[in-house]
Amino acid sequence: MVKPFYYLEQETQLIQACINRDRQSQNQLYAVLAPKMFAVCLRYCKNHEEAEEVLQEGFVQVFKSLKNYKYQGSFEGWVRKIMVYSAIQYYRSKTKLHPVIYMRTSMEEPAEKEETLSQLGKKELLKMIQALPPAYRMVFNLYVFEGMKHREIAEHLGISEGTSKSNFFDAKLILQKAVANSLKIAKINY
């Protein structure tokens, strides 16, 4: 959606004020962007606490790097990128870069129909992503939500392209199983 001119002007003024370290403007910018960015962080982390840590680090980086923002493309997209890199950095600092081996015990059942997924709440879906092993979660998020190629993911996470592909495949299997289980429970309850 194209933003109206007055909004862009306001955004530019707000960014400028933030560059000048006006704390009130920084707070205003945070208030506008925090809900969206927190949702991004939640997907990359296993719980709220971790997501808040990443969000905090991300916003500090945003305010530090604002002077480098070239006013090209969406500002929200630029901030989102920083959040994703903060999440990657957090992940790298917390875990060793060894690929996670997930042993499949049984063939997961496929999800039934696309419509059935909408019956599941967003929070439930989010929890499914959060429940993924960290390496799988990172690869899944970067591939699905950021649209990165496996080669790029491999470079960012310091893993091989093959590992990235394998992790993505395994992540999808886990999610599929989780969705199937949720739907089964929902049916029983219904």
Partner: protein, 478 residues
């Protein structure tokens, strides 16, 4: 099933892409605090360089102030001495009969060759000399102010050992003995004697006024006044101003590390500092002191420093290097290096290895420039020194042992990436010199060296090496 697997990612994307959730209020509080802290760090960083510069300027300013104070003190002493000597001369002049007193508005120094032996001549003495030769008597001397000379006997003056100096010269006379005094801060001080057996009590010789007129001429000279046409020259045996010191200093080396803004690296300053230990480091060199005066000297020379740092067991990961080739990257305090073990020549991005028994060695040649202040106490000389050094990298070497399963290999990198070819450091030290013989002294000078600029760039951390060394050596006087 494949279709469903493919779909599931799109379904998650469409469901969660526009998801929003408000974080707790404590996140903003934390961001707020961090921003305050970052501002303080930014200010601290900004002024760190300024502080270092200020420190050096203060050192130089202190040195200059002490030098000026020293000059002033010596001048005061000299003035007092001259005043006392002048008093004696004035007494002599007072006793001189008026007919013997000659005043020349513009006095001419008569050449000794043209002066017949035994001829009584009243001429002004002293003067200035354009330093074109050792024998000043061949030049014409003149004064801008009236010269006063009294006496009955022939007075002949020869000026020799002409040498450029600063400030005024004072020549006074005390009966048969005439003294010529130079500026004390500048060696040598000459004293010459009027060998004039026939000099009468009423004779006096005052060059004070004339020599004062020479203030602009920046020179000094030795004066001989002799009644005898056969003049003798007082030779100036100036001691050398140069001292050479050879030293060796075992050093306690440390460093301060700052995180650099290099992304996608698993290491940071804290991790690197934890994983490294300094091993034996040393500095040796030859320094030359140039004595400015009794207390002050300038020092320069050449130093050679050697620093060894060991790295603990560490996991390294394969990454693309600057050329795009995938190699194992090892980050450490001085910089980084890319390794390719022979047992795994084509690693994939993200592959890992363990490295043990890693040491990196840095060697620099330094050109120090320092100011020294010396206080002589008998055979002991206490010296304080401060200055800066320009350090040129001569070697950066990394030795490591790579392990993977049963494979084991020692790798040596003769080039450390990210090291700057030159960095600057500050020096400060205080020590003592013991005079063994006239020419030889023993030197003990504990010295602190601290980096003013980082030794690397483009690495994960910025490294500022510091060291404290106990320099021992010998000083030779020439």
């Amino acid at each position: 099933m494949d279709k469903n697997l493919h779909d599931i990612e799109d379904l998650f994307k469409s469901a969660l892409d526009d998801h929003e959730e408000m974080p707790s209020a404590k996140v903003w509080e934390a961001v707020d605090n961090r921003l305050d802290k970052e501002s303080i760090i930014k200010i601290e960083k900004k002024y760190k360089s300024a502080k270092r510069l200020l420190f050096l300027l203060l050192l130089l300013l202190s040195a200059l102030s002490l030098y000026e104070l020293n000059n002033y003190y010596n001048k005061s002493n000299l003035a007092e001495k001259n005043y006392n000597q002048g008093k004696e001369t004035t007494n002599d002049l007072t006793n001189t009969s008026p007919q013997n007193k000659i005043e020349n508005p513009v006095s001419t120094f008569e050449k000794p060759d043209a002066l017949p032996s035994g001829k009584r001549t009243e001429t002004a003495t002293g003067g200035f000399y354009s330093p074109s030769g050792a024998d000043a008597t061949k030049d014409i001397f003149s004064f801008n102010k009236p010269a006063t000379l009294t006496g009955k006997s022939i007075t002949k003056i020869k000026i020799s050992n002409v040498e450029a100096v600063s400030d005024e010269q004072v020549v006074t006379t005390n009966k048969d003995e005439k003294t010529f005094i130079q500026h004390p801060a500048l060696q040598p001080i000459f004293a010459t004697t009027f060998e004039k057996p026939g000099l009468q009590k009423s004779d006096s010789f005052d060059l004070k006024k004339k020599t004062t007129a020479l203030e602009l001429e920046k020179m000094h000279f030795a004066v001989e006044v002799n009644n005898n046409p056969k003049t003798t020259t007082v030779k100036n045996n100036k001691p050398s101003r140069f001292l050479i010191t050879g030293f060796f200093s075992p050093d306690i080396a440390t460093y301060s590390l700052e995180n650099n803004e290099v992304t996608n690296q698993p290491d940071n300053a804290t991790k690197i500092k934890k994983s490294e230990q300094h091993e034996f480091s040393s500095t040796l060199g030859v320094l030359v002191d140039y004595k400015l005066n009794k207390h002050w000297a300038l020092q320069s020379g050449v130093t050679f420093s050697n620093t060894n740092i060991a790295i603990n067991l560490k996991t390294i990961y394969a990454q693309a290097d600057n050329t795009g080739a995938v190699k194992y990257r090892l980050n450490f305090s001085s910089g980084y290096g890319y390794l390719i073990p022979s047992f795994q020549p084509n690693p994939a991005v993200g592959d890992s290895l363990k490295v043990t028994a890693t040491t990196h060695k840095l060697q620099y040649i330094g050109i120090p420039v320092a100011v020294k202040y010396r206080i002589v106490k008998g055979k002991f000389t206490i010296e304080a020194m401060a200055g800066i050094s320009t350090n040129f990298l001569t070697m950066g070497k990394l030795e490591t042992e790579i392990q993977k399963g049963s494979n084991n290999e020692i790798d040596i990198l003769n080039k450390i990436e990210g090291l700057k070819p030159v960095y600057f450091s500050g020096l400060a030290g205080i020590g003592v010199t013991y005079k063994l013989t006239d020419k030889l002294s023993f030197v003990l000078m504990p010295t602190a060296r601290f980096a003013l600029t980082s030794i690397n760039k483009g690495a994960v951390v910025k490294s500022y090496p510091n060291s404290f060394g106990m320099a021992v050596g010998v000083k030779v006087k020439f």
